[in-house]
Symmetry: C2
Subunit: 328 residues, 2 copies
């Protein structure tokens, strides 16, 4: 019997979850819940329903795990605790500084309801966090580095779009190759913000806008660009749509550490992601953890969990025997 | 109160475990057990005892986790089930084909005694296995690749040493860079044994030995070298000791997979290790899992476990709160 999945919110992430379910024969999409008029929302899975969010509570017996695909700024802080009262849930809450508070809220709600709530699933937080944790447990005498990119930063692209005279924009975060190499060589460099990443912007101007002024505003924008070496390219709307419509991302987690009685030996652990589609990869991680949420709940567990709390085998459709025989 | 560790077998791996304990303030080495005369074995930790293996059973109340540092061919198949009757144990059993049988034997012994036995810990099996498993759970529509090296293969070095006329030898396994690149580019190549790795041998000849004959014997040795492009260098004993005394290793686990409704997007997950000392890194992984064995036993669990069965947080000296605040 397949694990029945619900999707709350049908944007890029929700569609990614739908696609990921298709690749996992032990899962099926039961319903998509939307704040829009369900009649206006067309999904890809012919066998699944589209419902208004207000109907979600009627689906408690028909959904094993609800995937919460809202944003971290305002949606998830409310939604995850609320839906954990009714469903096993998985979210991709990614405001790192607020994770402890979010965990507590979800834990309280999920425990009271006897549900499992897995929070902050994806790649960062998510697989990158796991790799930081494994690597630091293995090499306690060491140093961590996380590089992001090359990839599209939605937040930085939005920041450019809010500048007067900008019609559209895409911003790529790019790791500095020489910094990466210095880490790989075990040199344990101290790296400033500017030394780790550069920012490349592709901007479509409104008719008659002042390019020099826009470029100056981008380069000097505090927090977003002022601390980075930033390149700005002005291109046409056609070029932007043709060459920059994807949502690629990725990055590197590295730990360089030493072992030996006198710390005489050096080691490098490197984890790298190169992703054509940020939301589809995030969704793929989420769906693996949805399997874990289902199994943990079946075992009678409840409360908030993170990727740190879940044994890897729970993510796989294979049995323990199969995993030991084929992957160990 | 520190976790009290015992080491059974004081070779490269046992010494690595001793060094790893030094880096983890929540652990202490209680005793090293050896088949040799304990008086002849000098260890680095002044506060720990050196005992004959026959005394191990007297230490059941003074050791929380016993690390079994024997070989996979003949030692561990006997030792791990035997010692799991007395101690929580961790081993690095690495004969992949025999893991299922070993698991069953350890599981039976450990369950009967109420002990935890974590088997096949290290980097392959171990961290590489984990990365194969996580990546395949996330990207079910994909293909796995494992490359080893550049590193010293003990088995291949030994095979060369057994050839008549060879005084000493070191063999390096080297991944083929173009094959790695083809995988990284998402081309999902079908790779033969020869296309994945090359083998480089540094050989010291006995006085008067026939170099051409030795080289021919190496190149044509079935299983070990015949299926590979092999380079043989004849060097002096001084050069071997000066340039090839280390035990470096490492390698790459890659998974290339596709997502999207029509599998239109491609992703790459890459995990890489670059290790100065194979046994010291293996030991460092073992010690992190020793912490897990201790905690699992405290929770009342018993039986055989592998890296797939253990939630990552159990490996870290940090608490759940600390991990969520600092690493998620």
């Amino acid at each position: 019997m397949a694990i029945k999945i619900g999707i709350l919110g049908y944007g890029n992430l929700g569609r990614g979850v739908e696609c990921a379910i298709k690749q996992n024969p032990d899962m099926e999409l039961a319903a998509v819940f939307t704040r829009r008029d369900p009649k206006q929302v067309s999904i890809l899975t012919k066998t699944a329903s589209v419902c208004h969010v207000s109907e979600a509570s009627d689906w408690q017996d028909r959904i094993d795990v609800m995937i919460l695909c809202g944003g971290s700024a305002t949606d998830l802080p409310e939604q995850t605790p609320a839906y954990a009262k009714m469903f096993n849930v998985v979210d991709s809450f990614d405001t790192h500084a607020n994770i402890p508070a979010h965990f507590e809220n979800v834990d309280k709600a999920a425990k009271a309801a006897g549900k499992v709530g897995i929070i902050s699933v994806g790649w960062d937080p998510g697989m990158f966090s796991l790799n930081r944790m494994y690597a630091s447990a293995i090499l306690p005498n060491g140093k961590d580095y996380t590089f992001w990119g090359k990839g599209v930063s939605q937040g930085h692209s939005d920041a450019i779009r809010r500048i007067e005279g900008v019609k559209d924009a895409k911003q790529y975060t790019i790791p500095v190759e020489t910094a990466l190499e210095a880490v790989r060589e075990g040199r344990n460099p101290e790296l400033s913000t500017r030394e780790k990443h550069t920012r490349e912007c592709f901007v479509v101007l409104e008719e008659g806008a002042d390019a020099a002024k826009v470029e100056q505003e981008i380069r000097t924008m505090p927090n977003y660009f002022a601390d980075y070496d930033t390149t700005v390219h002005f291109i046409s709307e056609e070029e932007l749509n043709r060459d920059h419509s994807g949502i690629p991302h990725g990055g590197f987690v590295l730990r360089s550490g030493r072992t030996g009685w006198e710390a005489e030996n050096s080691h490098l652990i490197e984890y790298r992601l190169k992703l054509d589609s940020n939301p589809e990869f995030t969704s793929s991680v989420i769906i693996a953890y949805a399997r874990a949420a289902y199994r943990l709940a079946k075992e009678g567990l409840s409360g908030a969990k993170t990727v740190f709390d879940i044994a890897p085998a729970y993510l796989s459709a294979k049995s323990g025997e199969e995993l030991r025989a084929s992957m160990l």
